[in-house]
Amino acid sequence: MEITQKNGNIILRVENLKMYFPILRGLIIQRKIGDIKAVDGVSFFIRRGETLGLVGESGCGKSTTGRAILQLYRPTGGHVYFEGKDLTKLKGRELRQMRRRIQMIFQDPYASLNPRMTVEAIVGEPLEVHGIAKGKAKRERVQELLAQVGLNPYFINRYPHEFSGGQRQRIGIARALAVDPDFIVCDEPISALDVSIQAQIINLLQDLQEQRGLTYLFIAHDLSVVRHISDRVAVMYLGKIVEMADRDELYENPLHPYTQALLSAVPIPDPEVEMKRQRIILHGEVPSPANPPKGCNFHTRCPRVMDICREKEPAFVDVGGEHFVACFLYSDKVAEESEVTTG
């Protein structure tokens, strides 16, 4: 595969990742009658210290991709190489040890903190699980972490309900940082927050990245936020990455018709800009991942659809300068698997 041959200091490489969820029918004897193809052959890489933004609309599989990387779901197929080690092959103790290096920040700061645990217990738990610190040392470490994320260290005996949404998200960030990870999956970390608070968390994430050399996979649906925080951006649609490129290249020269439509749909807070803009309004809605269309996933809504798009699936190819796109407008190459199934 083309992507794997690129060099650079690659920390994470995902190859042909697939995550299917079975559709079951029957009460007592359950039969599998199909699959929800939440993630269907996703490949990308992330370099050390950079932020890869993963954008797409709800249900496109971006969060599932993040969870499958951490092995919170066991992928149906494909590989996740973290520093060369295939996480999909790890189990038990080995996997737990790898989790010290990879952490996650969740979307909902209300659901991701146990309401019966104090801040000390929440942020300190990973320290104990991984045998990093106990007792007084743990307490000091937790206070240090709270200070780093901009919370008062004296809050350690408080419970989550005593904090606002933005403060809770800071607790979630402190918990992720506790084990001193290299790589953090940020799953919509600001979507549940108020506008004036979002910027506080974005700046915090950027500062921490600079101080600690962190690598982020930043999952979000807000394209303006992703442009702000990412070095490179991947766009997902219905379980597949349709385009991936450097941030500015992707936003200034989008190639895939879906990326073009998505970018044109994002409102800009400036009435003068808005008056001049031409929108590409997509018709119809996203098909069900239980029954994705034959050929290119996007052909049912694509304004530039051709005959071949309905028959074959385009390959995800580099059209120059690490700008990857899966579209027949730019390359005749057919995706490997689709050749097998249609042939």
Partner: protein, 328 residues
Amino acid sequence: MADTLLDVRNLTVRFYTQDGIVHAVNGVTYQVHEGETVAIVGESGCGKSVGVMSLIRLIPQPPGKITDGEVWFEGQNLLELPEDELRHVRGNRIAMIFQDPMTSLNPVLTIGYQIEEALQLHLGLSRTEARQRAIELLKMVGIPDAEKRIDDYPHQFSGGMRQRVMIALGLSCNPKLLIADEPTTALDVTIQAQIIELVKRLRDELGMAVIWITHDLAVVAGLAQRVLVMYAGQIIEAGNVFDIYQDPRHPYTLGLLNSIPRLDKVGRRLEPIEGLPPDLLSLPKGCPFAPRCRFRIDRCLEENPSLSPVAPGHEVACWVDVRTGRPR
């Protein structure tokens, strides 16, 4: 300028709860002209939803209570109208669409039934006429196969399609005013663009006025003619859309615009507004934004400024001129 359609004067709403009195809306005054689109922008808890729900007395009373104010609409003060007369205004002259269409549609009735019910009740149409009109409305909001889908239940529609159904329902009686309370917040960006285009088209075709409530400054930049910015139950800045986005005069509006990343601009560090919105149970003396304000002077902690004009049609509630940082 077109005639005034809605005239809200000093609207004040409180909630009497176990924990104390929540000062949800604190003396809000504004007008909406015929055919005009006004956006009300603010963060959660700023009173933007309660404020418009109170216009047609949709807040639960108790614990809520409209303690002061007048709402003049087509020559009537809606706050003093008897309940049965107000019912002829709600859904008929003033329609409302909400953020989550699933909770505003009845899940056990077909969408056709729900639209026809409104038409029979408000316009006195017969069943066959109502059904005919309901199909027309569904076609108008872009529901494919309207003849068949009219007999479907709400759960058989996707989020975007459900919001279209809600809009059809809202428009069924040709309202003069449509109140849209975060109608696109739960939707994906491509679907949001579809709904905004739809509302714009229908507004121009039907000549109705729109109040669009949102927390997202970007959404209304291309939609509204006038913008009201709310904070802690008060309007802190009001002006036409160009004033607000290009020449914001309140530190909070300025802060909001500087704290959101823009798709077309890159490389600038975001400037967050530090701190948290105030607790509406115990509002600070003075300006509610003062504790978070970069431009704060001593007077801000003592006296709450009221809206006053800085330019024609542009009003700000602030003691300081943000352009110079000195008192006005």
